[in-house]
């Protein structure tokens, strides 16, 4: 039984095999960017928003609201990162029900990549907010003795994120595959519906955890710059 789309080589470029994970990621990217570009083209404030634009505004406003609830501020940079995480994961998880489509989140490589992105983004946002010294000092708080534990804790976050998302998605796929072999006409539908719900929840959890990590990295700066919104860059 094939458990990861990494093993499926779709085509080869310059001797490098492009597997289904990457190709399906491109498909998801094309869907997201294409739909966004299609809906947001020729936006005019004096024209009432269309149904699709309203839907996108609801989604974006919801993400902004969730981020604001966690970070207690409205930072567009966090929105770009966390919002993209959520949209990508939720789209990938929802496409899981498409027959023949191997969702990229079912690949440990994808979840590791996303976790690494979060692990890198946390110090980037923290250094951006506190400065390099201020951010590194957080590893020695409340005492220098805590330095190794904080480093391990930070590293375990990434592993935790990656394993959690991969495990949930893969477990759903594995369970669906097992049930499909047992009762092919009933369980797949139920499992797909359950997988949709689980996928959305997992996307939400992944995005919220990323937001929490970023927020904790920028917490001191937030206290100093309380109620100070960072403008759009």
């Amino acid at each position: 039984m094939q458990l990861t789309p990494d093993d499926t080589i779709v085509f080869t470029i310059l001797g490098i095999g492009i597997n289904a994970t990457v190709v399906n990621t491109w498909i998801i990217m094309a869907l997201l960017v294409g739909a966004s570009a299609l809906v947001t083209r020729r936006l005019r404030p004096d024209v009432p928003p269309s149904r699709w634009r309203t839907a996108l505004e609801v989604i974006v406003s919801g993400i902004v609201g969730q981020i604001a609830e966690v970070t207690q501020r409205r930072d567009p940079r966090i929105l770009y990162f966390v919002g993209t995480l959520f949209l990508f994961i939720v789209t990938a998880n929802l496409l899981m029900v498409v027959p023949g489509f191997d969702t990229p989140t079912a690949s440990l490589s994808t979840t590791v990549a996303l976790s690494i992105s979060v692990l890198v983004a946390v110090p980037v946002f923290g250094i951006g907010s506190r400065g390099l010294g201020g951010y590194l000092k957080t590893y020695a708080e409340p005492s220098i003795i805590m330095l190794p534990f904080n480093v391990v804790s930070e590293a375990s976050r990434g592993v935790s994120l990656a394993i959690r998302l991969y495990g949930n998605i893969m477990s759903g796929a594995v369970i669906a595959a097992i049930l499909l072999s047992i009762a092919p006409f009933f369980f797949p539908v139920v499992m797909d519906m359950l997988g949709l719900l689980t996928g959305v929840i997992q996307a939400y959890i992944f995005a919220v955890l990323a937001t929490v990590y970023i927020s904790s990295a920028t917490a001191v700066s937030d206290a100093a710059d309380d109620n100070k919104d960072i403008p759009h860059d």
Binding site: N19, V22, T25, L43, T110, L114, S117
Partner: protein
């Protein structure tokens, strides 16, 4: 289950590209659109607030105008009421004055009617008295009224002799009707005895009471039936006053 690090790197790259693309095609347009719409809504809200403020101001002005109009209306009504009350009082006063004037005129008319009636009654009574006296004197004593008056005057001439200062040169006898010649002669003889040489002339005056007025120089002596007529008038007045009130009103 293994990790393909090439795929991991590709996915990280894909994710970063997706972040940039979504920022370019999703977040920025949507956020800018939301901000623009919020600004427009804010502008419209501000405009609405200005319009509302203007409407409130206009409402306050209209309310003030309405209050002023109501106050003016109340003042106008009060002034009209006072003017009507004043005109009513003036009309009542004028009506009372008119009634009083008409009552006074009617009273004066009644008094004038009463006076004329009394004068007429007095005249009629006097005429009747004269006629009866004449008739009685003629029937019972075979004399005229004028001869009896002159005889009475002649008999009383000595009583006034002490009022004459010296002998009068002229004397005038005034009667209502011309005296008979024999009566004139008797009066002339009596005057000659009282004032010898005095010239006596006779005059008539139809407006005078029946009788004789004799002017002797500066002295005038009257023997008329006015006293009798006054007694008759008093009797008539008493008789009229004794009439019942209803009869008097009916007559009036």
């Amino acid at each position: 289950m293994s990790i393909d690090w090439i795929t991991v790197g590709a996915q990280i790259g894909n994710f970063l590209v997706l972040v940039w693309l979504l920022k370019r095609f999703l977040y920025r347009p949507i956020l800018d659109g939301i901000d623009a719409r919020e600004r427009e809504i804010s502008t419209r809200m501000g405009e609405a607030a200005r319009v509302e403020a203007a409407a409130e101001k206009q409402k306050a002005e209209y309310e003030a105008r309405i209050e002023a109009l109501q106050a003016s209306r109340a003042e106008t009504l009060e002034a009209a009421r006072e003017a009507a009350e004043k005109e009513r009082r003036e009309m009542l006063a004028e009506a009372r004055r008119k009634i009083d004037r008409e009552q006074a005129e009617r009273a004066a008319q009644r008094a004038e009617d009463a006076r004329a009636y009394r004068a007429e009654l007095q005249k009629t009574g006097a005429e009747a008295l004269l006629s009866l006296t004449r008739k009685a004197l003629t029937d019972l004593a075979d004399e005229t009224l004028e001869s009896r008056i002159v005889a009475r005057a002649v008999a009383r001439l000595p009583e006034v002799a002490d009022r004459l200062h010296g002998e009068p040169q002229y004397a005038v006898a005034v009667t209502r009707n011309p005296l008979p010649e024999d009566v004139r002669a008797g009066l002339r003889d009596a005057l000659n005895r009282l004032a010898p040489g005095a010239q006596l002339s006779f005059e008539t005056d139809e407006t005078r009471s029946p009788g004789l007025s004799l002017k002797l120089g500066s002295v005038q002596i009257d023997w008329t039936i006015s006293d009798y007529l006054e007694d008759l008038e008093a009797m008539l007045d008493k008789a009229m006053d004794d009439l019942p009130a209803g009869s008097a009103r009916d007559d009036g």
